[in-house]
Amino acid sequence: MTRNTRILMSIVYWAFVVYLFVPLLLMVLMGFKDSNFIGFPIKSWTLDWYIGVFKDSEVVSVFLYSTVIAVTSTLISLTIGTWISVLLAGRSFFGRIIIFGLTILPAVIPGIISAISFRIFANLLGIQTGMFAIIWAHAVHNVPFVVLVVMARLATLPKSHTEAAMDLGADKIVSFFRVTLPYLKPALIGAGVFCMLLSFDDFVRSFFLGGYKPTLPVLIFSKLRSGMSPEINAIATVVLVMTAVMGIWAERSMRRMGKGT
């Protein structure tokens, strides 16, 4: 690759970074505005909104609630999604395309439709609203994304890898865990982060399937009803920081686990 294209690409990359981060900076900034509404000009500044977020224990507990939902639903989606991918990849059988189509379905249904159908379906099954129902809906909604990402990666797994493992005496289960799964690692991490994001940002399903305890987007939506205040910006900022801290912690501990084995 020539020098010029490399420079061009790095420019595109950093331009993209700026594009992503400028709204974010504005959001953080607006959390300091001394007014009930965000926007310019900012006449006076205050720390009250941020202090308020920490005083209000609801924000922290809602954040934890959303986190538990995101992590659990992600683990379920990853497990099921990988399972389906393994079934669908490298094997042709009657009904394969039907299973694939059904797998993708939840991704294409508009949120409001899916939420209402889930709610009716939950009624039919006697599942009560709350954490379990939300986790269930999020897991279902996220499976297609896992399958798409994992199948793309799986398609490139050289057959020789698994065959070599079998030659060394591993059965299919062992070769899955020792060869296939490690090969899928980047796809799984990518899909996992993705699922967490989707779950964390989901409003409609959480609203329709939730009980009296709101998830984060549900809380923000209902607060938005009385205006986009700096308070909401402060909440989002604090949540961002907490997520970042958790992300770094997860990355660190994963690295430590990696060294441990």
Binding site: G39, R119, N123, L124, G126, F207, Y212, R225, S226
Partner: protein
């Protein structure tokens, strides 16, 4: 138990039948058995003052569980989806949407005898014609809203603030915004018709012609409008950012801007406009109906509560004497001069079936044009 379920089966869709037998309503009560029970409320952010909630919990031992909702449609859908065992006791419905909830069997008639403080509500609201349907009262009016014209006082001169003409004037091209579905009623009024469409209930052809005329009017004016919007937060942001300087809006969001010291004002233009009232309603089959009535009574206990609700929402309180507790700025922000109020009439639901069968497609056509 079986009897309970059977009485509820009336409201079942065919496929939901099996679900009702599986879903025992018992779980709804289990968690609060040891205390004075619970009362479950669906409402908008800031509608129920924190102090009322805390005092009520302290005095009665009943836990108040609030679930915040963000629009009427979602609340309706959610309640429908929860049938036949709603998880809610009190919900917040706008008066002109009563019929929809009543027709679907979602809310119960209000037994005003059980509300000692019913008299605290201004009879303009509690005894109004929209409030009585099928000879029954259906909700406790708490806050009153109006479809108004809002303007940035730096850009819109005084002599142009009192007519809808200004909203459709070339002078404010690409500086206006409105909610098309709401504005349809106002345009009908503006063109000299009954926006509630009750007059045309027996004349569907005339009704269709009027809606078509209003639709064509808005299509003609489409090049002038900057944005069709949906929510109060949106219009607030547009006004703050000066993306628009003149708009149709609900009074609540605008009076919050005024209270915040922004150069905004609002009026009920001389051609007239419509008002609506938020009410607290008891759900049909409410799991804790007794507690719901206790809470409603507590909500009406003093005029200060009404004032607090106005301060936090920007809508006008329906409580007698609540204005006395407001500051001058708040009073100015959350009220209208007497001569403007005369231009205001309430939304009526009688012709809604016919009206919205015509208006909804018309709105789609306006948006798609």
């Amino acid at each position: 138990m079986t009897k309970l379920i059977q009485s509820r089966r009336r409201f079942l869709g065919t496929a939901m039948g099996a679900g009702a037998l599986l879903a025992s309503p018992a779980y709804l009560r289990s968690s609060a058995a040891q205390t004075g029970g619970v009362v479950n409320i669906w409402t908008y952010d800031e509608f129920i003052p924190d102090d009322v909630k805390k005092d009520f919990e302290k005095e009665t031992g009943i836990e108040v569980r609030i679930r915040l909702v963000d629009d009427q449609g979602k609340q309706f859908n959610l309640l429908v989806a929860e049938q036949p065992n709603p998880s809610v006791d009190i919900l917040t419905v706008a008066g002109h949407r009563f019929l929809q909830f009543i027709d679907s069997g979602l809310i119960a008639p209000m037994d005003t005898e059980r509300l000692a403080n019913w008299g605290a509500i201004n009879p303009v609201y509690s005894e109004s014609d929209w409030a009585t349907i099928n000879g029954e009262k259906w909700g406790v009016p708490i806050l009153s809203g109006a479809e108004i014209m809002a303007y940035n006082t730096d850009y819109v001169p005084e002599d142009r603030r009192n007519t809808w003409d200004t909203l459709f004037s070339e002078d404010y091209k690409q500086q206006t915004a409105y909610i098309p579905s709401d504005l349809m009623s106002i345009v009908m009024l503006y063109l000299g018709y009954d926006g509630n469409m009750i007059e045309y209930m027996d004349d569907p052809d005339e009704a269709a012609r009027i809606v078509a005329e209003a639709r064509d009017f808005l299509i003609e004016k489409k090049p002038l409008v900057r944005k069709y919007y949906d929510s109060g937060a949106e219009i607030q942001q547009m006004l703050v950012n000066q993306d628009v300087v003149l708009c149709h809006a609900w009074n609540g969001p605008i009076s919050k801007l005024i209270m915040d010291g922004l150069p905004m004002g609002m009026s009920i233009p001389k051609e007239g406009s419509y008002g609506f009232v938020y009410t607290l309603n008891v759900a049909n089959n409410a799991p804790n109906a007794d507690n719901a009535y206790k809470f409603l009574d507590a909500m009406m206990a003093s005029s200060e509560i009404g004032a607090a609700m106005t301060q936090s929402t920007g809508f006008i309180s329906t409580y007698k004497g609540s204005a006395e507790h407001l500051s001058d700025l708040e009073k100015a922000a959350a009220s209208f001069p007497e001569e403007q109020l005369e231009n205001l009439q309430f939304f009526r639901a009688e012709a809604n079936d016919m009206k919205y069968a015509l208006v909804d497609p018309a709105v789609e056509e306006i948006k798609a044009s």
